[in-house]
Symmetry: C2
Amino acid sequence: MRVESTAAETRQERKERTREAILEAALDLVAEEGLAALSLRQLTRAVGIVPTAFYRHFASIDELGLALVDRSFASLRQMIREARQGNPALSGVIRSSVAILVQHVHSDQTYFRFIARERFGGVPVVRRAIRHQLELFERELATDLARLPNLDTWTSEDLRVMANLIVNAMVSTAEDILDAPRERPEVEREIVRTAEKQLRLIVVGASNWRST
Amino acid sequence: MRVESTAAETRQERKERTREAILEAALDLVAEEGLAALSLRQLTRAVGIVPTAFYRHFASIDELGLALVDRSFASLRQMIREARQGNPALSGVIRSSVAILVQHVHSDQTYFRFIARERFGGVPVVRRAIRHQLELFERELATDLARLPNLDTWTSEDLRVMANLIVNAMVSTAEDILDAPRERPEVEREIVRTAEKQLRLIVVGASNWRST
DNA sequence: CCTTTCAGTGAACATCTGTACACCGAAAAG
DNA sequence: CTTTTCGGTGTACAGATGTTCACTGAAAGG
């Protein structure tokens, strides 16, 4: 293998580029009807390649689905990283977290839509992969929560339970935002307010947990 | 139209019976791959009728989907009615509510699975119908919550926010139960414990809401 | 320079899809 | 008893589907 870089595109680069094109086209198509209803032919037609060429990149649609899970959660992880940057002691942590969520839902619509759709809806193997990723996600969130004042005495199990509640609420919020009509921003603002209140309710519940 | 009842099946009864058979077969098939991937032919094959006969009962697959939404939520409503029967002042209201949920998820698996699958996953018109039903559901729950001690001073909007949080948590719980392996009852017990804790967390948060 | 590798091609296949149409036979109506 | 209604049948058709196979042509390797 030559290491020398050519002015034109190298073979690897080309392959990677069509692989990307397949993933992007798949995300678009899946947004309409779900992965289970995605046909290999309409996918390759959208990409601009012949049906059989697909198999040069993925062994099956299921494998494509798993690649989409990876890609979507990479985006989600990026979001969490941003949220963690903010001042953890800041009282506006709830407000800013929700704001970051909203922003990412907008900029990475297709990823969020894919996760929401396939979490319960889709092919078993993909559903399981998403479930697993969300579990990792909850675990991360639980360790973050452990650093908060009032929560340092909690058992890790209780933290997980709380993290699960938060994640579920946020996933629902994301779906609500995706379904909100673009031309009516007040609907979205209402969703945001609801999400903030729910988080606050959970936090208040947590601070008074052991005292009852 | 004669009102006289024949010993054999009347025409209406027969029609209703095959309609039921279509709905039941659809629920089974949709559990596998989702409504978007349901084909008219495999459906009618499962029922034991010829493809074209389907149109005697439904104008389209979408309409079938809406009928399934109705049917599934009828089951859900029955569940809520049961839960309401219990003593509202009883301290074990959380435990018994979750127990009722678990019991119904088991006895009406296909309905719950259908709702979970199509809530975010499916055809737009069905998704909207489910969303609407869940909204009605939250409204009902909100009025129930208003009767609780500490919550009688809450605004109806705050009650709705809380109801939304609870409904989301319970829907997730239902899905977790559906995905739990039958042969390992301890997994389900763990899910139940989590659900109970989450409800308790929400209730504790609610009782201390205004005081902060 | 010649050889190998390999992403993408294009035709062919058996199978499945939704829907149109004319038809049947028994229940309902009169 | 005759006529009407209507669930369900059977055939037919055009189109879409996943997968196979031998192929091409340019980049990579030596």
